[in-house]
Each structure stands twice: as C-alpha cells, then as structure tokens.
C-alpha cells in the first residue's frame, strides 16, 4: 500500500512538472527508484537492468499473461529498449519511431525514419536500432545512416536532425543515446568496415555537435604512440556502438570501445589505444578522464563495447563488464584501476588470465601462434563469451545474470585490402561450434566469477536480461519463448511463446498499482546472420511489442 501511495505521488509530480521541464537530469538519476517510468537505457543510468518491483514474483509468475501486443510491421531483428514516461511508451525499429499508450498498446504516433536504400550495406550485424533517450520533452534516436534526430515526445515531430558523418565510408548508428549532464551522447558503429571510431555529444535543444572524442588518436595525440607509423590509425576501428552508463555524482560517463581494425593485428603492432577499452569521459567536454584497455592489440574481434554496469562492491564504486573476451571485469570507476577479472565462461584459451597489478592479459600459446600467422582455434569466438545482449545485476543478491555463448573461432590472419564501405576483415575465419548446447544463462558472483547456477540452451540466447526484486530473471530465446527464471536456483518458472525469435530487452514498470513486463520480439541480428543455424528456419521473422501482467485471481 505504501508503495502504491508513493507511485501515485510520483505520477502526480510528473504530471504537474511536465508542462515546465519533464525528464530532468534529476528524474533520470532517480529513474531506478521510480517504477512508474523508464527513462534510461538499462532501466537506470547505472544500467543494472534490475527493477525493484516485486508484485510479479516466484509464487505468482505462473499467472503472467499478455495484456497487449503491438506489431512493429518489420521483419528485421528487434533490439529496442522501451522507454516509458507519462503513460507513453517509446519504441523503435531501424525504420520508425513509435509512441504507444502503455495501458492499451494503441499507437499514439509513428514517425518513419528515411535513410538511403544503400545504407544497409554498412551494417555488419543486423539492421537494428536499440531505442531512444528522453530529456526535457524530447526524445532522441540515431539512424542507420549515422544521423542523430530529436523529436517532440508528445507528437513525434522532428525538432532537429544532425548528420554525424557520411555512412558511405562504413559508418552507421544503432545505439540508443545516453543523456548525461544535459548532453545527448552517441557512439558510432562500423568496426568491420575500417572506420575510425568516436563518441560524440550534442546539444539537446539545437542539435549542435558539442564535442567528438575519437577512440583512435591521430599522430601526436596522447595514445598515438601505441600505433605504428603510417595511416593504420585512420581506419583503426574502435567503434562505440553500445550505450554507456553515467554516474551523476562523479559526473563521469563510461563508454566501451570496440575491436581494432582490420582483424590482422600484425599490421598495427602496438596496444592500439583506445580500441577494446573502457573510457571514462567528461560529459560536457568529452575529455577522457581515464581509460582501461581490456584487449591490447586486439586480434580476436573482442569488442569492449559491452555495457558498463555501475554498483558498489565492498564500499568501492565500481564498474563491471562481462567482456567478449570471456573475462568479467570489476574496475574502480573513480580511478580506472582493475580490481578483479575472472572467467565467466568455461572455455577461454586466448589468455591464461588477467594480471591484476598491470591490468594486462597473460596471453596463451594460442594467441602467440595466431600472431605468428598460424591458423588457430580460439575461444571464445568473435561473438564473445557474451555478445551485446545486456546482463542484469541484482544488488540485493550480489548476482550478475549473463547470457553466455559457447563457440570458438578458427582464424588465420591474412592481408587486408581496404575498400571504403565494405568489410575490412584481414582474416579468414570460420566458427567452431561445440557438440550440444551453444548458450547458457549464467548467474555469477561478480567479484570471484563463481558460478551460482546455469541454464543451457541448444540455440543460444541473444536477448538482454532483466532481474526483479520479485526474485525473477526475465530473458528470451531465439526460438520465440519469453522466459522467467528463479533468481536463486535458475529454475525456469514461466514461459510464453511470442511467435518470433527474441533478441530484445525486457523492462518492468508499474501503472495504477499493477506491474507490467514488456519485451520486443522479432528474430534477427548477428547470430542469425552469421551462424547459419538452420534450426532457426522454423522461427518466422516479424517483430512486435508484447506487454504482460498478472491475470486477476
């Protein structure tokens, strides 16, 4: 009852404020505690993807039923993270932005995204979009052809549009923007196309570009000593295609960077800063406060873009990341100093471990052979021990929930020829799939990496995860099931077949005292395209938004 009152009060405050300044920085900061709205990618600016809601719990989740469905009218993979404010839910596809009545699922407005027909050829891993940001009455999104767009949150009318860069040279955007210190922050995609990656900030009111921080320094700039002489840096990679996190108290933005390009590491000897790294940025200036590099001289396509999850462990403000390279990192987010790095998947053979003092990987003979030009089979594959699909962190249980991948890659480095707007591999490769299951939902202790439980699947899950204080872990399968697991035991308690594969992001919210859970379905994305897993031929495409609530007793 007490909670209901709080919600009511919160809703009223929101309504009264909306005519003046809605979704202020204070609102964004408190997002995690206000269950009547979802204002941040990752359900709060720390990206824990944990909801304090507990109305839906272990005991009653069996009564979870769909209350509405909304067709996205699109057959690409759907990776959108819904936002919710003032009873309006905001979702995206690569081709449109939509506002829905959260109570009924009815469309309030829909704004098409127009991009040139050639654009999809610069999208390596699926024609997707991951969602909007919301701030002071506007919503913000990126487009596949690398534009940043602001729309009126009430009407969907375009307020401004800024072209970030010419997509024809391999640049694209799929990222949901981050709002930090009143700045709209985005990162660019294109790590397989020989781009020079960057993160940039825009003025939310005018669309003016406030700053751009390259993830690969030009000659003479700090970090350029980690690149060889020559022009490799101009197409050195380091994309920034996943949304970062924001610590408003420290006023620091944390943003991961992707693989170095091409994949042939011998053509760019050196650490290749700031590829495969975590960057701490000043949101107003874009200045780098500290950096930590996960995979120096990346030879494996080990993007470091995965979400930085912010929390406190043993009194320290930390940042956690489950990296593609198979290690779960815990970093002091004030200083960038490494605290712990443990394997979170069973098969990791590119490195024997991470040296905590130096923060550097202890590479194995497999890596040595790969760098010597031999063909090797390394684990995890380029898809990573975990791909982009985001983990959840339940602070009360001290448990991180991760959809892991069980695959290796056979690779040999070869000459790479750059041709603008096309793949810039520099390697020949093929996936090494294991017998049996290719994916696991894992619950781990972030400090030790210890496994608490796991749930295996033949076709791996590539959906994000959400945990709730109802003791539940929500995620989805590429075969279409939306699922709820027991946070403590991993037992699957509930599932619902949504009719198309799920690679989306679950969220939970509350309205008029009732808890809802929402997810986008619609199969697609990197695994479908690259695995050639024909078991998915029987799972139709076609995305929609599903919202669930408990059936009345």
């Amino acid at each position: 009852m007490f909670k209901k009152l709080l919600i009511a009060a919160g809703t009223m405050a929101c309504l009264s404020a909306s005519s003046v300044v809605a979704q202020s920085m204070a609102d964004l900061k408190n997002d995690g505690a206000t269950t009547g709205d979802i204002l941040n990618y990752g359900m709060n600016s720390h990206q824990t993807r944990h909801s304090p809601l507990d109305q839906v719990n272990k005991d009653n989740v069996k009564r979870l039923v769909p209350v509405w469905n909304y067709s996205l009218n699109d057959s690409r993979g759907q990776e959108t993270h819904p936002l919710l404010h003032d009873g309006m839910m905001y979702v995206t596809t690569h081709a449109s932005t939509m506002a829905l009545d959260a109570a009924t699922g009815r469309q309030l407005w829909k704004t098409e995204v127009d991009y040139p027909a050639e654009t999809p050829r610069v999208a390596c891993c699926g024609i997707v979009n991951r969602g909007v940001a919301i701030f002071e009455g506007k919503i913000f999104r990126t487009t596949l052809d690398a534009n940043v767009v602001a729309m009126d949150a009430k009407t969907g009318e375009e307020v401004w549009r800024s072209k970030s860069i010419d997509f024809r040279n391999g640049y694209s955007m799929t990222v949901a923007p981050l709002i930090a210190d009143g700045v709209v922050i985005v990162g660019v995609s294109g790590g397989e196309y020989g781009i020079r990656g960057y993160i940039e900030g825009y003025d939310p009111n005018t669309g003016e570009q406030l700053w751009r921080t390259y993830t690969v320094p030009a000659p003479g700039e700090a970090g350029s000593e980690t690149w060889p002489d020559g022009d490799q840096w101009e197409r050195g990679g380091g994309p920034a295609w996943l949304t970062g996190s924001y610590d408003a108290d420290l006023n620091m933005v944390y943003w991961g960077t992707g693989n170095a390009a091409s994949w042939n590491s011998q053509l760019r000897l050196g650490d290749n800063l700031y590829t495969a790294s975590m960057l701490a940025l000043n949101p107003k200036s874009g200045e780098i406060q500290w950096h930590y590099q996960f995979t120096p001289n990346d030879a494996f396509d080990y993007d470091g873009t995965n979400e930085p999850v912010l929390t406190e462990l043993d009194g320290q403000k930390v940042l956690m990341q489950a990296n593609r390279n198979g290690f779960f990192y815990v970093i002091n987010r004030e200083t960038g100093k490494l605290i712990a790095a443990n394997k979170f998947v069973d098969r990791v053979n590119w490195a024997d471990g991470i040296d905590i003092a130096s923060g550097r990987p202890v590479e194995s003979d497999v890596s040595e052979k790969l760098r010597a030009g031999e063909q090797v089979e390394y684990w995890p594959s380029a898809l990573g021990g975990k791909n982009w699909s985001h983990m959840a962190f339940d602070g009360d249980r001290g448990t991180a929930f991760i959809n892991t991948l069980n695959a290796g890659l056979t690779m040999k480095q070869v000459e790479s020829q750059y041709r603008a707007g096309t793949f810039y591999w520099g390697a020949e490769f093929a996936f090494a799939w294991p017998e049996g299951h290719r994916g696991e939902l894992r619950a781990i202790d972030p400090t030790t990496g210890d496994l608490k439980w796991k749930s295996e699947t033949d076709v791996p899950r590539l959906a994000s995860i959400m945990s709730t204080s109802g003791g539940l872990v929500f995620t989805g399968a590429q075969t279409g099931e939306f699922e709820a697991f027991d946070s403590d035991t991993g037992e699957k308690l509930w599932q619902f077949q949504t009719g198309s594969g799920i690679v989306g992001q679950p969220v939970a919210w509350e309205m008029d005292g009732k808890q809802y859970v929402t997810i986008a379905n619609g199969g697609g994305g990197v695994y479908v395209l690259f695995s050639g897993d024909e078991r998915l031929a029987s799972v139709p495409g076609g995305g929609s938004i599903w919202t669930f609530a408990l059936m009345d007793e």
């Binding site: 993979g77 654009t119 999208a123 024609i127 395209l529 024909e534 078991r535 495409g541």
Partner: protein, 412 residues
C-alpha cells in the same frame, strides 16, 4: 550393375565440382559484400534475408538486376562492384559455392522442366528415324539383362514403355557393364552418348557432379555387342565427350538394411548386438562405417561389393548390412529361398533415376519427359516394378542430388 554407381559416386567426393579463378574471386567477393546478410557459405535460416541456395540457377538476368539495383530489403550493390565481380558472384551463387556444376545459360535441368510440347512439333534428332536407341548393360541385375529374345529388367521394360508411348520402336545396344579398373559407368555413359552409340542411357542417377559438362575431354566407349556380329565385342574406342543431361526421374533408388532375423530397425542404433557387414568402397559401406554405434565396431566385417556380398551374409558371416535395395532384389531373384529379410528402414539418402542423354537435344528431352510423366501418372512404373519384383521409391525433390561431401552422409 546399377548399385555399383554408388561406389563410383563415392570416388567423386572431396574437391569442388567447379573450380576456377572466377569462382575463387566470387567466393572472396561474396564474403566481403554478401555474407553479412546471406550467411557464410550461403547458409542462413532464410527468415530475415533471402536464402540464396534457392535462387534459380539458370536466371542470371534476375541475379544481375537484384544485385545491381537492389531488391526489397536488399541495397543496390552495383556501384561497389569492380570489373567482373558481378560475374564472379554469379559463378559462386549459381554453382552453390562451387558444389554444383555451372549451368549453361540455355541449358535446362530436370527441375526446371515444364510440360512437353506437342508431339511432332520439332525434329527429335534420333540416330535412327522412328527408333529410340537405348544403351543397357548386359548384366544389370534386376534393372536390365539380355535375354534370348529381347531383354528383361526394370530399365528395359521402362524403356520399352517409353518408346511405345512416343510411338517409336526400341532398339537396345547391349554393352558390357562390368566394372574394371579402367572404366566407370559415368564416363561410360558420357562416351556412349557422345559417340553416339545410342540416344539414351536409362538408369542414370540425377547427381549434380555427374551431369553437364564432362570432367575430362575424352573417354572410352565400353565394349558393346554389335548386332551383326553375335558374341563378339568391339575393342574400346575413345571419343570426345559432350555435355549430358537427364530426363526427369522415373524412380528413386534407396539403400536399406538387410537382416538375417526379423527386428524393428529405425536406424543404426537398432542394430545393437549384431555383426555388421560393411561393403567396401561403396556409399552404403561408407555410411555404415560412419554411422554404426561404437559397440558394433569391433565385430564388423568388411567384404567386397558384388553378388558375393549377400551370399556371404546368407552363409552367416554377418547379421546385418546396409545395401542398395536393388542389390537385395537381385539376390532375392537369384535365390528364391533366401533367409535374408529387407527391413522397412531406408537411409534418407537416395538417388533419382532418369534417362541420360545429350544436353543439346531439347526436342527429344521434351518428349521423353512427357512420356515419363505419363508413365508415372498412369501407374505403369509401379506395375513394371511389381512385375520385376523390384522395390522402388517415388522420385523426390530436389530431383538433382547436389554434390555430397563426406559430412553430408556421415551426419544422417
């Protein structure tokens, strides 16, 4: 004998059927530009993007149009392609990544067959007017055999029936089908049709690597009986080979498990506790080696293929074996009181059987297809099989079996 075919197909596994510079270039270009949507090696679930393995192999204009200008969700790629990269991509896609022979622009495969044109609408180009000349092996087991008056066997009877449907006389050239080191039935077929010794060779498997352009320039015609000189064989002669094709199939030949004692068999796992016989050097033998449960390995026995194989089984050398079904039928015909039983299990891999003929005789091809369709629809094929006591299966799509690799049959 027909089942020996399978042994020779096995010999063809391994390298790609098509291998050339254009293909190599197409492979690289595909990886760089197309793989991100259409999958590595063209393998994708086909739900989010087009499954290129389904693209019509004889429709280059459509391919060029779609790639150059885009199609539905696919962006135009024309401005990215340099030089002959578009041709190279077509080579890659139309050969299914080099696994199947290239299709000539005007050439047709059984799969693209429509309906036969009106009879007499075009010249049939027969060797002898109003006569269909067919080459059949003298001792083709249950499929064909020479008799004092005419011949016998499934292929022989089907050929008779086809000729009758087309209001033609059938003339059979009997050739020596026994296998020795210097010959194989595929090259023999190319040679007989190229010489030409006959208009059609019945009983030919629709297997992609053994159709289209010949793999070599010249081959020997097998020894055959000239009607004028009874019991005298011609010496082998070499001829320049020409591309061949086949009609649509009239039957499908499969492999089954033969047993000494009744038992329900759904797969190799059900052979637990038996001694397995392995036919050396044949497809059935290779599958047996790949699929048998490890517990059977120690006791399994290997034997040469041929009629003696099932005799050895009859004698009790082993309890179970995977063989071409026609082989069992032949054994049964020769030994009416056999103790051997053919189980109901059929290995999923089978071959559709049609008439081989020269690729450039479209009028004849149209007429033969029409006649085969007639025979299939009026039940004559089934009746002939029953009469010959041959187990057959209905032809299954895809009519032309793409090239098999070791992994294809070891995983089934």
């Amino acid at each position: 004998m027909k089942f020996i075919y399978l042994a020779f197909m096995l010999a063809l596994f391994g390298g790609p059927a098509v291998s050339d510079e254009l293909l190599t270039k197409g492979t690289t270009t595909y990886k760089q530009l197309c793989s991100r949507c259409h999958g590595f090696d063209m393998v994708n679930p086909g739900t989010g993007s087009y499954d290129l393995r389904k693209f019509p192999r004889d429709d280059k204009p459509r391919f060029v149009e779609s790639v150059s200008n885009g199609k539905d969700g696919m962006p135009a790629m024309g401005d990215l392609l340099i030089g002959d990269e578009l041709d190279a991509l077509w080579r890659y896609v139309s050969t299914r990544g080099g696994k199947e022979p290239a299709v000539e622009e005007s050439s047709l495969q059984g799969e693209q067959h429509q309906t036969a044109g009106p009879k007499g609408s075009a010249e049939l180009n027969l060797m002898t007017p109003d006569t269909l000349t067919a080459c059949l092996p003298i001792n083709g087991g249950v499929m064909s055999g020479r008799r004092a008056s005419g011949g016998a066997g499934l292929d022989y009877d089907i050929a008779q029936e086809i000729a009758k449907t087309l209001e033609l006389d059938l003339k059979v050239i009997w050739y020596e089908g026994d296998i020795d080191e210097d010959t194989n039935p595929i090259r023999a077929t190319y040679a007989m049709l190229s010489r030409p010794l006959c208009d059609v060779v019945p009983g030919y498997a629709l297997y992609a690597p053994t159709l289209g352009k010949p793999k070599g320039d010249r081959a020997a015609v097998p020894r055959w009986k000239k009607p004028r000189f009874r019991d005298k064989f011609e010496e082998p002669e070499f001829v320049d080979l020409r591309p061949i094709t086949t009609t649509i199939p009239y039957v499908r030949m499969e492999m089954g498990v033969v047993l000494r004692a009744p038992r329900d068999v759904l797969g190799f796992a059900d052979l637990e506790g038996l001694t397995l016989g392995i036919q050396e050097g044949t497809l059935a033998g290779a599958i047996s080696v790949g699929r048998m449960p490890s517990s059977l390995r120690a006791n399994a026995v290997s034997r040469n293929p041929g009629p003696a194989f099932l005799w050895d089984m009859e004698k009790g050398d082993f309890d179970a074996a995977l063989v071409a079904v026609a082989e069992y039928d032949f054994h049964k015909r020769q030994n009416k009181i056999t103790k051997l039983i053919l189980s109901d299990y059929r290995h999923p891999l089978g071959f559709n059987i049609g008439f081989a003929m020269l690729e450039d005789n479209k009028p004849l091809w149209d007429h033969l297809n029409g006649a085969v369709e007639d025979l299939l629809s009026n039940g004559r094929v089934d009746a002939i099989a029953l009469q010959n006591k041959v187990h057959i299966a209905v032809p299954r799509r895809p009519f032309v079996q793409p090239e098999l690799r070791t992994t294809d049959f070891l995983s089934r």
